[in-house]
Symmetry: C2
Subunit: 510 residues, 2 copies
């Protein structure tokens, strides 16, 4: 098959099944049936102090699917620990379905090499596991979903989770859990909801067993089969690390200032506006600029959504937004705010952006600020592979929010370390250009020709509007025409759009 | 078939299907599969101002099942309004599945007579509808479920709801709802959760459409298909009416004092204890007595659960409990507390007491105070039919909490208006005696012989412990042996225990 972008998609892949080619964004998903869920009543002992005792109770066999959430990010100890236990038991052909994979999960490479793990599906994969996949070490192609696509697959039964392992900062004896109380506090549990609700068996893992009842309750005891108490679920310094620093790069700051002006003139800057931004340095600079502008113009928004960080929390506290909808907390300020401010609301990943659901928060977004590793002449964006062709991330909520928001803006330097970001053709298509409205670079702003209304709105401003082809030419002038990366034939990953169709494939690096 | 109590249960009833006879309380429900749910993505307009426009979009046909929740109690305007609209469209053979039916729902009798409604399933039915059912006016036997059994039936697909109509005190344009903000505030939405999650179509009805997002969110937009805005969903005076007044009857107060002493000596009176009480006058007096005792002895409990009222709220505010778990608010104090106190927690009915789920709050209960219309020599309780044989209520959470709590205590006068409550044989078995531990009357305390541990604990106290047979004799001495009520052959209602088996039948009154 050939998909909308002329990319060849196999109709069937062994170990994966039949594939459907991406044919453009559907406005609605139509009618979907959720899958029956096996529930086993349990009013007796749920708490155990040894994973072995719990594993003894489970129907472990080759080919099972196990899932994890990524709220502990690069501080996570749970996935490695559990996978080591499963590997020790000699379980083979495991399908691993974590919501994201981080560098800390390096021990997985060994399990991939041994045949313990032969399939991985996730919304974001970075570090040594991404490298191993790119090098063709995983037996079957990895499936790279979106944040919204993942619960859609789980809820419709296309991913059947045998055991969901859900790390919790606190749990009571029945498995009422949250992510805010305890030494390993990480914030909301938004990404774990579909796992807990739809897995055959849900095992909570906590290092903070508290008196019944544990509150607030992000995930209820009615979904919990067992509670495993361990010494530590994560390294706090890794849990809330890194990403939420604003850029100091003058070009990044220039882009942020331009973006803020663009928003001001876009028609979406008004009372009741809603906003989300990624956690990249430039995206955060946009949040800072927007906050200034909102204060200056006395504008109050309805909600900010997404992964939350101190910049967004500041905006809530300054009354620039009425609410935050939060699937994950990126830093301590976000954790604290979620814990103490009733206007900082929990949001499951399905509520955030599952395309099968009856309207999501992402669909209510006015303005979305997105990053890009590459963006092409048709505004298609890559956030999966780097300039060397290696997998280094994933869509996360990129495609989801781009599709949902009324105004989706990609902010990026035209060139990074002498490599053009804006280019004729990109390595991997993550997000279709039809869902990207504007690109802001330090060399000017390109508006997607599909958005005639925005072109019209901005034509009498002094904003530096350019054609995207001009930006590509400028980049080529500075860096030369980038050489296309050569890949092996072998497909190492399938890029699955939020509707379950295949939008691109990633091939083995040479 | 003959069930555990020697009651004949038909194997099949036309219009109802195959029946299973009650054979004693099962400790666990085993493995259950939830039913697939049809979801239709909807990011476009959900809000309508006319029920006719919404009905035009629905697949209305004879035989559909429609559901309602009872949080507006006797102030509810929604059920009557919707049923009138459906009747006007000539829909026949509707299966009505409200969580409870109140006197205000009298217009239903007309729909029963016309054949618009031919089946009713509910956990509590009072007033003219109960009378009409007892008089044999409903075409098929009504199914009287328990609060926990109802979501179990819905989630397992044994009740398939075509359209759930969910009244909300406030909703935004996407159908995020709660019951606390607005002129028709009624408190939590615990009983509506399974309906909203499992219905083919969920229609929110509100008289308070607010800006997006509406928070707090008891039920998320991902379950809402349409939002109907009306002038009024209920009459505030009926919403929080009546039941939560403490008894002034000296006998009731004596029973409450005895019960409090019993609790003190039971072994369950200690730090971390959990407690629930019904909303009857004597039950409330027990709460008042218990509060005094807890203060006196400096005891702090973990949680109080159930329908909540001002007495329970007072206990939370006095720090006698750490949390309240709430499925429904009985009075304004409860509504206010739920709205403002983060220790007053939401609880879906499934979390409260669905026997299929992985451990419920009711299963964590230490002490449960229950009422009774009648109680027999084996501690079997009737809360469904009155002394005249008419249906006048239902189990609600009676059987559920009796089964879950470690110490379930029935409090009742031995005799009411010269009619014995404690008697050899009762009219209708709602709750099996094996789940009732103690009966407290003004003539003494009877302990279920199955609870040897409690008998042992109390034998050296000065509590007036008696055999239940003695209480029956005393009642007979005062009132004479009550005449058995004569019924017609026709079965008008099936009493379904929480596990879905038939524990008794109700026959037509003569």
């Amino acid at each position: 098959m050939i998909n909308q972008f002329g990319i060849e998609i196999l109709e069937y892949i062994e170990g994966i099944g039949e594939l459907e080619a991406f044919r453009g964004i559907k406005k609605e998903s139509g009618i979907i049936n959720t899958v029956p869920v096996k529930i086993k009543s349990n009013n007796s002992q749920k708490v155990f102090y040894s994973i072995e005792e719990i594993l003894d109770k489970l129907d472990l066999k080759d080919g099972i699917c196990v899932s994890f959430h990524h709220h502990l990010r690069n501080g996570d100890k749970v996935l490695n620990f559990i996978m080591e236990s499963l590997a020790k038991r000699g379980i083979k052909d495991i399908m691993l379905a974590p919501s994201s994979v981080f560098p800390v999960h390096e021990p997985l490479v060994e399990h991939i090499m041994s045949g313990c793990v032969t399939k991985i599906t996730s919304s974001y994969i970075s570090g040594p596991v991404a490298k191993a996949i790119s090098e063709g070490k995983l037996k079957y192609p990895a499936i790279l979903t979106t944040h919204g696509g993942r619960p859609a697959l789980i809820e419709s039964g296309k991913i059947h989770i045998d055991i969901a392992f859900v790390a919790a900062a606190s749990s009571d004896s029945m498995g009422n859990i949250n992510g805010i109380n305890g030494k390993s506090a990480f914030g909301t549990l938004g990404y774990a909801v579909a796992d807990a609700e739809y897995a055959d068996t849900t095992v909570v893992i906590t290092d903070n067993l508290v008196d019944y009842p544990n509150a607030p309750i992000d995930i209820s005891q009615i979904y919990t089969d067992y509670v495993l108490v361990v010494d530590s679920i994560g390294d706090p310094s890794g849990i809330v690390a890194g990403t939420t620093r604003i850029t100091k790069d003058p070009l990044g700051l220039k882009i942020a200032a331009l973006t803020s002006k663009l928003i001001f003139h876009s028609g979406y800057f008004k009372n009741g506006m809603s906003f989300q931004t990624g956690a990249g340095g430039t995206s955060l600079a946009v949040a800072a600029e927007l906050a200034k502008l909102m204060q200056e113009k006395n504008i109050k928004g309805s909600f900010a959504s997404g992964g939350t960080n101190s910049f967004i929390v500041d905006m809530l506290n300054k009354n620039l937004f009425e609410y935050i909808f939060d699937t994950q907390c990126f830093d301590l300020a976000a954790v604290e705010s979620y814990k103490s401010n009733p206007k900082h609301l929990f949001m499951s990943c399905s509520m955030y952006t599952n395309p099968n659901r009856k309207g999501t928060v992402a669909d209510m977004l006015d303005i979305m600020i997105l990053g890009a590793t590459e963006i092409d002449k048709d505004f298609n964006v890559n956030v999966i592979t780097g300039s060397d062709g290696y997998i280094m991330g994933g869509s996360g909520g990129h495609s989801d929010t781009a599709a949902g928001a009324k105004l989706s803006i990609v902010v990026t330097n035209l060139i990074k370390t002498r490599i053009p970001i804006v280019k004729e053709k990109i390595t991997t298509i993550t997000t279709p250009g039809e869902s990207i409205d504007v690109l802001v670079t330090e060399y000017g702003i390109a508006i997607n020709p599909l958005r005639k209304d925005i072109i019209e709105k901005l034509k009498n401003t002094n904003l530096p509007i350019v054609e995207i082809s001009e930006l590509i030419k400028t980049a080529e002038k500075i860096c030369g025409i980038p050489k296309e990366i050569k890949f092996d034939e072998k497909i190492v990953a399938l890029v699955m759009y939020r509707d379950g169709t295949i939008i691109d494939t990633v091939r083995k690096v040479l």
